[in-house]
Symmetry: C2
Subunit: 179 residues, 2 copies
Amino acid sequence: MNATAASLLGFLHAGPATGWDLVATAELVIGDFWSLTRSQVYRELAAMAEWGLVEAGDVGPRDRRPYRVTAAGREAFAAWLDQEPGPEQIRYPLLLTMAFGQHLGPGRLSAFVAAHREVHVARLARYEALRAEAGEGFDAYAGATLDFGVRYERMVLDWFDHLADEVGGVAGEPEGRRV
Amino acid sequence: MNATAASLLGFLHAGPATGWDLVATAELVIGDFWSLTRSQVYRELAAMAEWGLVEAGDVGPRDRRPYRVTAAGREAFAAWLDQEPGPEQIRYPLLLTMAFGQHLGPGRLSAFVAAHREVHVARLARYEALRAEAGEGFDAYAGATLDFGVRYERMVLDWFDHLADEVGGVAGEPEGRRV
DNA sequence: CGATAACATGCCACAGTGGACTGTCAAGAG
DNA sequence: CTCTTGACAGTCCACTGTGGCATGTTATCG
């Protein structure tokens, strides 16, 4: 059983949901460190239905097809969750581009870095708004994963700020310029 | 053209190489932020040969089949490199497990965190050894990507150290205990 | 009433992963 | 000097993951 399928099972513990609902929930709850696509969600749902881990209900309006966990599904989820989680995977195209920087025209890297910087500034702001809004209002688990996000974004921004000129750093930026 | 194929093209600029060589090079140079597998390397090489971006030489001992870039390949690489790199992707199973922490038995999270901590400590040590060993000895581009690695590992370790007890933090750890 | 946007699923080609399998050569143990 | 072992080199396959296209449905608003 793969992690994506297991996550869907996990979300279904909170009650029946359709593929569409699950995509939305996953996007919201684990989307910042686990990606999934509509295609795969429907594929996994169908597979898990065959395996007896979930059961499809009757189709509602707009072809809504609700799924609910079975007892076997709960068991499978618990077994999956209890396993040691594997190592993280990072794929950062910007670092690829940078690694081949010697083949790149002047100024290109700076432009790329600047564009990425904007993205990360926005993400950090979103995370911090979330944290402020929620306060102590949500569980420690969600708080911990959010904290990871905040630290990650700050780290990336910090890295940008300390980049040498030749590799796309913005010359002459002193300290404390975080937007 | 996908990033993995483009990277192979990039490495081939330094001279002909076999699929095996390319895997080793990639592992070394971009392996810390871009993953690839033998299977895919051979697949891309074959595809690029059909597209005329690389040319296969005669097979040597042990079926070694060297490839070299063509003019079209250099052009394609330059065009790829000049494009804006996409956003990074992070998939961190430990965060998934943590997000579902409420369904997990007591102590499990701490064990998982401890195991991951060891991995990151080791990686940080490796990076810093690399940096010390190389000194100013390698180009700014490799230095910048390595710096990203160092900052990332430090960030993760820091996050571990500030984790609350309920989410797998080690109780009573004060400040500055980094191995 | 009609346009538009959000809802909901299915399908497909391609990209990426990991393990199993086959065979080749070099080097050291016995 | 042979024989075992391990590094080298490539192939194949099933599964996982991505992104776009296609198709149809319902709500909303001017």
